[in-house]
Chain length 192, copies 2
């Protein structure tokens, strides 16, 4: 086997571990926690279907790539909840994780994935802002559908939920409007 | 909320159920069965990384879309293993499933997904042939890495494994060559 394919296949085996990184959020039916592979698949579907609600014109393939790979660093660095305060230690850990894991790939593919991951992290392009919006929207929808189980379990209140998720506006005003209506309903029900 | 977005969000909730459709194959480490969402995420990653090995030039976004949605029908129709004989009853069930589930979407998106799903099923385009190749490759890699657990459990022997997976050639000669070397090694180890 050529060296290039060997590296690609080694990476494909390595990323299987994302299926064992469990998130704080649960499936829509609340039956169990969701893992990063399932979450990434769902975001890719949302990027395909909801791109029309992006504030700015986006390249769908680039957005899909971004959401498919955005949590791969968690294989080494662990799950971070959107409400967690991320310190410099955590950021260093994630950067090392990206270097190690994307570093398994041939140089050109490593460079592409590193760039996409960094772009997602800094959110200064239309694609990364929209990707971040769907990354926030999925857990809001999950909480809405399972009686806010995760929010209740972690004692996360309305003010904080609104503050964090309002950032969705930067990628999509329309999706934030939809998310806000769900958050407001959870508040009316005294879940949060 | 506008009617269009309502349909899209209903679909996004509905497809969460794919996370509870478990396949016969296990994760690379053999620790548990893989579900359809995880499988679809992994195929999308493979389509992004291995497109260069397609026999024919392919549209990557179209291929990624195809692998992301190809198993959604299993929400209603259940998992089918690549070694199963699929009868007309099963095909009818899958078509009804596609009609019901993709039918939740607005007309234009329903039409796109129906067309992509049918294209994947009939395998008469470069993208569908390549998508089918990675769909076959992932379980071969999984079996190779977990001592052929699924093949042993279901009593699937070398001849049948070779016969079924050789079809990979239609999408990628290079990926078949790689898969064949893994299958041959499993045979040498008397796993199959």
């Amino acid at each position: 086997m050529i060296e290039r394919m060997k590296k690609q296949m080694e990476f494909i085996v390595e990323i299987d571990r994302i299926k064992s990184i469990f998130r704080k959020t649960k499936l829509f039916d609340g039956s169990r926690h969701e893992n990063d592979a399932e979450h990434s698949w769902h975001l890719a579907m949302m990027a395909l279907l909801l791109g029309e609600y992006s504030n700015e014109k986006i390249d769908i393939l680039k957005t899909v790539k971004m959401v498919l790979i955005h949590d791969i660093v968690e294989i080494d660095a662990g799950d971070v909840m959107v409400y967690d305060v991320v310190d410099s230690e955590k950021l260093k850990k994630e950067t090392s994780a990206a270097e190690r894991i994307f570093g398994i790939l041939p140089e050109d593919q490593k460079a592409e994935f590193m760039a996409l991951w960094k772009e997602f992290e800094v959110k200064r392009t239309p694609e990364s802002r929209f990707a971040a919006a769907v990354d926030r929207l999925e857990p809001v929808m999950q909480n809405y559908h399972n009686d806010a189980e995760t929010w209740k379990e972690h004692g996360i209140k309305y003010g904080r939920i609104r503050e964090i998720n309002e950032k969705m506006k930067a990628g999509s005003e329309a999706l934030w409007e939809f998310a806000h209506s769900m958050i407001a309903e959870c508040r009316e029900k005294h879940y949060i």
